[in-house]
């Protein structure tokens, strides 16, 4: 019992779960062909910016995601770095297993390939670690108490929406289908897409509840929720979509109408991601 509950072995179990989470969240993209080349066809400066943003998001997830409520900022940084490392190792291992990594590849290609895959994997590692870090007995009630005592702030709820949108947008953005769907949709489809995204976001925010809370705050009716959560949520989804498209070089040189069409296509999964952030994160 003493050996089992020592902090190091507890942390080791946590790391093992983090690897599990990294593989679960990373696999769909690890097995997406476009992702294998995106790491070195994307502009390196943008890729680096994306990796740094990912670290910041990981620190935020550790902070706002409910993971170790009492932890300090330095604890969050340690967790984010560990999740990033787990993401890199898990991605490299799976890519290697699939025979996609080659010892005589140029270093830039090798690193780019692993780096871009490490983003969703590190996300998964962080989410898995959140589950594990809660110790077993009586912890569920403890967490609930702490949650009702300290309801998540508005800013942190918007942050979680952003993280959810980023995750889902990133999961679909690399594929060729994204471009194809954008071309298939007429302007009328796009307009319908905006309304459908807003409707789904609003319905899910109501059905799923708010990040860190069981139900809508007192005095928040349909109208106020729409203004306070749905509209900002969709705005966040569109911004995140644009950022992902820009990172992958898909927003370059396109006509504004084409980019807007792609944003609406990507904004749809992004708004679903924003809405269900409460469930996933």
């Amino acid at each position: 019992m003493i050996t089992l509950s020592s902090p190091n072995s507890e942390y080791a179990i946590g790391l093992a779960r983090a690897f599990g989470g990294a593989i679960i969240f990373g696999l769909p993209l690890l097995m997406t062909m476009e992702m294998w080349s995106l790491g070195f066809t994307a502009q390196p400066a943008r890729l680096n910016l994306f990796l740094i943003s990912n670290l910041v998001v990981l620190v935020g997830l550790s902070r706002f995601g409910g993971f170790e409520r009492t932890s300090s900022f330095s604890q969050d940084v340690l967790d984010a770095l560990a999740a990033s490392g787990v993401g890199v190792i898990a991605s490299a291992a799976v890519l290697g297993l699939f025979g996609l990594l080659d010892a005589d590849m140029p270093a830039g290609q090798f690193v780019g390939m692993v780096a871009i895959q490490s983003v969703p994997a590190s996300f998964g590692a962080m989410l898995a670690r959140r589950q594990l870090s809660a110790k077993d007995s009586g912890d569920a009630t403890c967490e609930k108490n702490s949650r009702s005592a300290h309801p998540a702030s508005y800013g942190s709820q918007l942050f979680l929406m952003m993280a959810g949108a980023l995750f889902l947008a990133f999961n679909v953005a690399p594929t060729e289908e994204m471009v194809l769907i954008g071309l298939k949709m007429t302007p009328w489809h796009s307009v319908a897409g905006v309304f459908a995204s807003l409707a789904i976001l609003h319905a899910l925010v109501f059905a799923v509840g708010f990040a860190g809370q069981e139900r809508a705050p007192e005095g928040y009716g349909v109208g106020r929720t729409f203004v306070a959560y749905t509209i900002p949520g969709y705005g966040i989804a569109l911004l995140v979509s644009f950022y992902v498209l820009w990172t992958f070089g898909r927003a370059d040189g396109g006509e504004i109408s084409v980019v807007a069409g792609a944003l609406i296509v990507l904004g749809f999964p992004a708004s679903v991601g924003a809405a269900i952030a409460r469930l996933v994160i």
Partner: protein
């Protein structure tokens, strides 16, 4: 006062009083890998490889005669950082 002191020493009922050694190691490995990744990609960005042309070398790896034709297996390798598509 003592309660505040206690809370500082033991953050929360389920929090860790002390960061386990393994956590430092995991974070250190993560930091190293992340910095190495940023450094390699940063170097690519710095070298501005867009002026570089892709250089593709093709090497025949084996020729097998089949009934009317030959199957020639070859390996194309791009040795530069510049991407090459539709070769």
């Amino acid at each position: 006062m003592t309660e505040v002191g206690m809370a500082k020493a033991k953050p929360g009922e389920n929090g860790k009083a002390k960061t386990p050694l393994l956590e430092w190691i995991a974070a250190g490995v993560g930091l190293l890998l992340t910095l190495a990744m940023l450094a390699v990609i940063g170097r690519e960005a710095w070298m501005n490889r867009s002026d570089q042309a892709p250089s593709i070398s093709v090497a025949v790896t084996g020729i097998t005669p089949t009934s009317p034709n030959y199957v020639v297996a070859f390996e194309a390798r791009n040795m530069t950082g510049a991407p090459a598509a539709a070769v």
